[in-house]
């Protein structure tokens, strides 16, 4: 793995100049939504809210994969973890998310074999080392992670690893944006579109939504200069009433994205309706295994029947993800719900709006 550190995109001078430009140009109140959790984190980490003029409100959207994973899916993971014939593998930030009862971290403490991995290929390796047990991977994430998951499933098939399966809660970003725009009360004047997702989907994937709703939209990266640039572009488009779909992350994103990754994704997965925590079912926003890969589908392998769940009373995650409320307007915030005892997923994931709010603001 090589490590680069984009110093130029953190440059204080460029950042300050951008802030000055934004202040100069912005005359009317705007509600801009960063769709991606990584953006939310960066915005808080660099104190971007604190340098923007009062005219600009930044809202956190439904782009933290952990936050939008339905309680029902977490319950399924917990059920799988409880089976003695299963080794459950997961990314770290899913561990503490509460389902309707337990979390994976709690199951692990009780003795379940839950292992944190950094890549689905680690899970595949565990499956090869443990031929007598079933290794299930909690597949969660957006277009960023789905191609790798598809790649691992293809590898498992090619290598005949039969004790390996995934439980897919993978989701797609553009349908969520469309769903947001169709929701009563949602007012958004611009989207800061996710950089990592766009590396795969390209700008083109957001074009239909843009054409339909004509909301200024900018794809950008995760450094302060990237984010401030996007804000400036959104301000300019709003001030001049000329909405556009812009790629401001050309160092990573091609307009057509990464077609190869999309082909692999399409080979293994097909679209299906999906349940988003706090938001509800969004048509064609999920990714489920195609029939030829059913034997890698943990839900089918174990015939899981998961009872319907109710969201925790008082949790406003859904409204927060749609930009209808701020975290500190949830009545559980900082009271019943803290990072030590999260009630909703927005408080669990480091990329969740509530966790970021809790961590970085007074």
């Amino acid at each position: 793995m090589s490590l680069t550190y984009n110093q130029e995109f953190k440059d204080p001078k460029i950042s300050k100049a951008l802030v000055a430009r934004i202040r100069e140009k912005s005359t009317r109140p705007l509600r801009l939504m960063e769709v991606c959790g990584t953006h939310t984190m960066a915005i808080f980490r660099y104190g971007i809210r604190s340098v923007l003029p009062d005219t600009i409100t930044l809202l956190s959207g439904p782009g933290c994969p952990v936050c939008v994973t339905a309680q029902k899916d977490i319950d399924a993971y917990v059920m799988l973890a409880r089976r003695s014939d299963v080794i459950l593998t997961t990314f770290g930030d899913l561990m503490k998310v509460p389902g309707s009862g337990a979390s994976l971290a709690a199951e692990k403490a009780k003795g379940a074999d839950v292992r944190m991995v950094y890549s689905i290929f680690d899970a595949l390796a565990i499956a090869k080392e443990n031929p007598n047990r079933e290794v299930v991977f909690c597949a969660v994430g957006f277009e960023t992670t789905t191609p790798t998951i598809a790649g691992a499933v293809l590898t498992a098939k090619a290598q005949g690893v039969d004790n390996f399966s995934i439980y897919s809660a993978n989701k797609l970003t553009p349908p969520a944006l469309a769903a947001l725009m169709e929701t009563d009360g949602v007012e958004i004047d611009g989207f800061i579109l996710p950089g990592h997702v766009s590396v795969i989907t390209g700008l083109d994937a957001f074009a239909p939504t843009f054409e339909k709703y004509r909301i200024p939209s900018v794809v950008t990266g995760f450094e302060p200069v990237d984010i401030l640039k996007a804000v400036l572009k959104l301000v300019e488009q709003n001030e001049s009433n000329a909405p556009r779909l812009v790629n401001a992350y050309t160092r990573a994103v091609a307009d057509a994205g990464n077609p190869k990754a999309r082909v692999i994704m399409g080979q293994v997965f097909e679209k299906a309706d999906a349940l988003w925590r706090g938001i509800g079912t969004i048509p064609n926003s999920g990714m489920v295994l195609r029939e030829s890969f059913y034997k890698f589908d943990a839900a089918r392998k174990f015939d899981l029947s998961i009872p319907d769940t109710r969201e925790p009373t008082g949790c406003d995650c859904g409204r927060i993800l749609m930009g209808l409320k701020r975290p500190d307007q949830c009545r559980l915030y900082k009271k019943a719900c803290t990072p030590m005892h999260p009630v909703g997923p927005c408080m669990v994931s480091s990329e969740g709006a509530c966790a970021a709010f809790y961590k970085y603001s007074r």
């Binding site: 793995m1 090589s2 490590l3 680069t4 550190y5 953190k10 204080p12 950042s15 300050k16 802030v19 959790g37 990584t38 984190m41 808080f44 980490r45 660099y46 104190g47 971007i48 809210r49 604190s50 340098v51 994969p65 952990v66 990314f91 770290g92 930030d93 899913l94 561990m95 503490k96 944190m116 950094y118 680690d122 969660v140 994430g141 957006f142 960023t144 992670t145 990592h196 302060p224 401030l228 803290t338 990072p339 030590m340 994931s349 480091s350 990329e351 809790y358 961590k359 970085y360 603001s361 007074r362």
Partner: protein, 337 residues
């Protein structure tokens, strides 16, 4: 004892085998007169005055990592805890809880690095204990160390000593240990030379205190990292602490790994760094003294103590924004994407 032997329950049973392990393996490595007496405890002279006393237990996974091992960590950790009280550490006790089946070779390596660390710090390991427990009851080896040190007359450092106008010095780059352990534990293969910063800080502390410059607070930001330690100080002293992001020393690769995994270096552990909070007027002089120590070359002033927002740590970010640096809540977990 042969390097290829494994530790058996017998080695902890107190009989002949235990005795052989002590006299053949441990004693020669920790070689000193007080331990050699093999009494139930160590008896030594101390001058009248104040002492500092500290204990800690070490349960790190993996036990060997780039830049050190659990043994070195256990000695340095206690040396540093005593030193952070402003004391000169003198004597250390060592309790070993070993999992049956451990390779003698590995145990020897750990003991050797404990002996090396003690020598470097100038402390003596004068009493101890060894237990062997059945396989699975501990993870390879747990080590407890306690240390005793003497406080020079007039030295008064404490977490409640920070005053508005003071400067905050950190003795070097942060998060090195935390990132190293994490990368090793999770088998992440980064092509970088990140290693633990485990080091004794008592000589550095001694030099600073002997210089006569007033020092209000000394702390080593281990678990929970710089962010958590500064929060503790802000609360204890009822002051605000303002940090400047552009001055925080973080090695490039460490920063890279943190960005990749979504970790904040402010919350990752350090094992060879200290925070010194000193009056603004003599901060630069103290900084110079710290920089002369072999473990303090990269020391910098990273912030200041204020009377605003008592109990809070605020970070002025690279782009001139501000944000709260809260205490770490629970373990940091790597993010998905």
């Amino acid at each position: 004892m042969n390097d290829n032997d494994t530790i058996l329950l017998d080695h902890g049973a107190g009989g002949k085998v235990s005795h052989a392990m002590f006299s053949e393996l441990i004693l020669p490595l920790f070689d000193n007169g007080l331990l050699a007496k093999q009494d139930d405890g160590a008896v030594f002279e101390v001058p009248a005055g104040r002492m500092a006393f500290s204990t800690d237990s070490y349960t790190v996974d993996p036990i060997f990592f780039p830049g050190g091992d659990i043994g070195e960590l256990a000695v340095n950790g206690t040396v540093n805890d005593v030193a952070m009280c402003g004391a000169a550490p003198l004597y250390i006790s060592v309790g070993l809880i070993i999992e049956e089946g451990m390779k003698v070779f590995d145990l020897k390596r750990i003991l050797q690095s404990m002996a090396g660390a003690a020598k470097k710090a100038g402390v003596r390991i004068v009493t101890g204990d060894t237990k062997v427990v059945p396989r699975g009851k501990v993870d390879k080896i747990f080590i407890n160390t306690s240390g005793i040190g003497l406080l020079p007359v007039g030295v008064n450092v404490s977490g409640n000593g920070a005053r508005p106008g003071d400067k905050v010095i950190v003795s070097g780059t942060i998060a090195d240990h935390g990132v190293t352990i994490l990368s090793e534990r999770e088998g992440l293969k980064f092509d970088s030379d990140v290693k633990s910063d485990s080091a004794p800080l008592n000589h550095m502390v001694k030099a600073v205190l002997e210089s006569g410059h007033p020092v209000h607070v000394l702390r080593d930001p281990t678990r929970g990292g710089l962010g958590t330690t500064l929060n503790e100080i802000a609360v204890q002293s009822t002051v605000g602490i303002r940090l400047f992001e552009n001055r925080l020393p973080v090695r490039g690769p460490v920063r890279g790994i943190c960005e990749l995994l979504g970790f904040d270096p402010l919350y990752l552990a350090n094992e060879g760094k200290l925070i010194a909070i000193v009056p603004g007027t003599n901060a630069n002089k103290v900084l110079d003294i710290i920089r002369q120590d072999e473990f303090g070359k990269d020391a910098v002033i990273i912030g200041e103590v204020t009377d605003q927002d008592p109990g809070r740590v605020v970070l002025e970010t690279l782009i001139g924004g501000t944000r709260i640096v809260d205490m770490l809540t629970g373990e940091q977990l790597p993010r998905i994407c």
